[in-house]
Structures are given as structure tokens and as C-alpha cells.
Symmetry: C2
Subunit: 268 residues, 2 copies
């Protein structure tokens, strides 16, 4: 399996994993975002990963291209965060390579990234002054000379996907290690997801519902791991409240990509 | 969406459709063949469809290449029948083009196809004298000057996928018409599948369990349509007995491919 295929397989394996509290999985849809939207995104992003692997390219424009190709269905953004992690991983091959890609980004990457952002329905934090719908933001990025790595550093305190760019893909690494420790086979995906959910508050939940809900979700996941709470009941509660740990899902995808490259087997 | 993407999307949409009596779907796996195997096959076949669309190629070698790329997981053959239909459809664009592809096959296509067949676990009917594991079969194909279309005509009485090659993709056309008549959206896939299942005995079931079981399954599907039998209970009965209408699934994939090209929308 080449890098591009590993990226697509990671997207597919993550969304199929079940049970996975709060997120779309093979047994749960949200009304506007369904299993098929995630799988369509995994299929339609293929040529972008393929181009990244075979001919390289710039990380900002590749993220924009991936969003463009996967944004034409009614399910809205499904994988924006995953692309932010997967594109440098596919360009660089592994975490070490992805760090070099991140270190090499420039202002043009930042501009392309903002264009990609503007195509999605992802919300900015209210405190963000670089509004993607504001043409002045592009001018401000140029004026300040911000690279895409700078943009991610700017977002990192409030966004754990952006934080991966600043901390050397630390949670991605942890997720890959969890997959190895749980052993090969698809059950490891859900188990690793739950471990992550119990260890760090999901910033997607925090943006949507506030910090307290993200913290509470993390604690509940820990109770599931400790046996004090039922996994499927917790999943049902999260789904009915719209509490979906979307950023941990993105990091899980990146972790699966890395683990597949290190010999972890999805199919056994 | 280009042809290659339509082919992959058709494979994805078919396997996700639920409820779908007897087959793998988002809610049912078989012990050795699971949802992820089918979705992996849809992802990993992408480059073959892409090559077929962009640079053409020979139908026999493309089918062999698709099987090779998708055969390296433990789920066994998932889409051999689908490739037999999709490769000519992608090469030719639509049913008219696929008919021309079929008419243009030659002995080399037949030899490549037998090589593909030998890679799968698909069973031959006991009456078949062209055993794929017998090197003499290749010699016999050359000696008789059989094209791939001749091979399909030879198998057509016992195999409804092969029969599509001899009847101008009649059931594929019917499935696309059913999708249009059920309207856009994923629910149409399961509904069209059930309509087909109620109208023609599945030859995959017939090879595995005998003609009588295939006939009985068809009758039960009709009872579901007529309201005399519960769909989910019928699904559960089929799954527990291992009665999986795999050939009608293959034809449904081809029908989705055609319908997508004619404006049917999966996402609404």
C-alpha cells in the first residue's frame, strides 16, 4: 500500500470504527452528515494524495485542492482537520518528514489554506481576528509575513489539530503507539480513539459546546475505560446531544496512517 | 465526478446500503468478509479505473489488475463480479460503450481474465470444463479461439453477471431505471436491490446453495415487497443461513454507476 492509499484507508477505517462515542460510524449518522459523506470524501481525495506522493507540491494548495474535491456534497466539511494532518504526512512520508514539511511552509501556503478554510463550514473561534470571510485577512497575512506554520501556532491554543503542527505531531504519534499496543485489527481503532478521548479534551467539542462540555466528555470516556460507564450508552448520549469529538477523529486518522506505515495491520 | 470516481462511489454506496437482505452492509458483516473489506476494495481499485478512463487498455488485463490490487486482504474476493461489469463500463463510458468494448474482446482478454479468475476464490460450476486451475484451460482457450465475450457466453446460463455481457447489460439498465424511479438519495439503492432480488434468481446463491434456494429467496423478496414478510427479519434469516445475493449486488453496483452518469444523485 503506498502513502496515498494509506491515507485513504485511514479515513475509511476511522469512520467505520464502532462504537466510537459521539461521531459518525457504521451505526450512526447525523442528519446532515452521514457515513457515506465520509467515505465519499475518502474516495474523492485520492487524486490529491496521489499527486502529493508522486509529484510533491505545496501543502497549502494541496489542502485547498482536497477540500475543493470533497466539498461538493451536502454533508459539509467532513475531513478538513484530517487533511491538515494527512497532507504533510503524505508529502513527508512519516512524522519526521511531516515536521520538515511544516517547517518549510510559507506565506503562499497560508493564503491557500485560508482559501480552503473559506470553502468549509468550519467555525472560527470568536476571538480570531483573521476571519476567513474577510478579504482583509489575506492582506494581513501578507503584511505580517505569516507562514502556514505561523497560522497553526496562532490557532494551536484553541485547536488540537493545529497544535499537532506545533508539537511535532505528538498526539498522532501517541495514537499510532496506541494502535500498536492494542494489536492489529479494526477493534484497535475504536479502542485507541477512546483512549485519546479519555486523555485530552477535544477542541472541536470545546468550540461547539464550551470547555466544560469537552472536559466532561473526557471524564466520561475515562469512566468508560474504568468500567464505571457503559460505552454504548455514552455513545448514544453524545450522539443525541450532538457532542462529536471531531478533532480526536482527525488525529485518529493521522495515527492510523502512521501505524499502517509501521506495519500495523487493519485486516486480521 | 469522472467515470473512475463514479465506479468507486458505486461500490461504496452499494455496500453501505441498508437493509439489504443477506449481504454485507453497514450493519452486517460475515465472519471473514466485512464492511471494511468491500470499502478497501473500492479505494484500492481506484488507479485501475483511472487508467481505464484516461489511457484505455484491454478489458482482460484491467480486470486482472483490479483483482490483483484488491486481493491482498483477508476478506477474499469481494468485487470480482463488479469488476467484470465496471471495467467495460468505465472503458466505454456508458452501456452503449460497454457493449462495444465487449464486442471487441479477443483471446488475450480471455487468457488475462482466466488469470484473474485464478487469483480469486470464486468457484466454478462443477460442469465447467475450463478449470482456472488447470493450465490446459489456457491452451484450450487458444485452440478454440475463444474471446472473453465467448467465455462470458459460455458462463451466461449459470451466471447472471456473465449474462450481462451477452444481453447488452439488460439488468444493469433495469437497475439504473429502478434507481431513477425510486428517486435520488441512498434509500433508492436498497429499494432497487430489493426490486431486483424479487424479480430474478441470484446465480451466486444458486451456485452456493442450489437453484431452489435462489428461487425461494426471490419469492421471499417478493413477499417483502408485497408486505407479507418483514424486511429486517428476512435480512437476518438470509445472513444466518449465509444466503448472500452477491451477483445482484454486483449488478446493483453497475446500475449505480450508470445512474450516476445519468444524473441520479446519491446525496440528498
Amino acid at each position: 500500500m503506498n502513502r496515498a492509499e494509506r491515507a485513504q484507508m485511514a479515513m475509511m477505517l476511522e469512520v467505520c470504527a464502532y462504537p466510537k462515542p459521539g461521531n459518525v460510524d457504521r451505526c450512526h449518522d447525523y442528519p446532515d452528515t452521514r457515513l457515506e459523506h465520509f467515505l465519499a470524501s475518502a474516495i474523492l481525495a485520492g487524486p490529491v494524495f496521489d499527486a502529493a506522493e508522486k509529484t510533491g507540491g505545496r501543502v497549502g494548495s494541496l489542502i485547498r485542492e482536497a477540500v475543493l474535491r470533497t466539498n461538493d456534497h451536502a454533508g459539509g466539511n467532513t475531513h478538513f482537520g484530517a487533511f491538515i494532518l494527512l497532507i504533510p504526512l503524505v508529502l513527508g512520508g512519516d512524522i519526521g518528514g511531516a515536521r520538515r514539511v511544516v517547517a518549510g511552509t510559507d506565506v503562499e501556503d497560508a493564503i491557500d489554506f485560508y482559501a480552503a478554510f473559506g470553502l468549509t463550514r468550519v467555525r472560527m473561534a470568536e476571538s480570531d481576528d483573521l476571519d476567513v470571510n474577510d478579504p482583509a485577512s489575506t492582506a494581513a497575512i501578507r503584511e505580517r509575513g505569516m507562514t502556514l506554520a505561523d497560522i497553526m501556532a496562532y490557532s494551536a491554543p484553541r485547536d488540537m489539530v493545529a497544535r499537532e503542527w506545533t508539537n511535532g505531531f505528538a498526539l498522532t504519534r501517541r495514537c499510532a503507539d496506541l494502535l500498536h499496543s492494542h494489536g492489529s485489527g479494526r477493534e484497535a481503532v475504536g479502542a485507541s480513539f477512546l483512549d485519546l478521548l479519555a486523555s485530552v479534551p477535544d477542541t472541536f467539542i470545546a468550540k461547539k459546546h464550551g470547555e466544560a462540555v469537552a472536559e466532561r466528555t473526557m471524564q466520561c470516556a475515562g469512566e468508560v475505560l474504568g468500567g464505571a460507564r457503559d460505552l454504548r450508552a455514552f455513545d448514544a448520549e453524545c450522539v443525541s446531544a450532538g457532542i462529536n469529538p471531531g478533532s480526536i477523529a482527525d488525529i485518529t486518522i493521522a495515527g492510523i496512517y502512521v501505524a499502517l506505515g509501521e506495519g500495523w495491520q487493519w485486516d486480521c
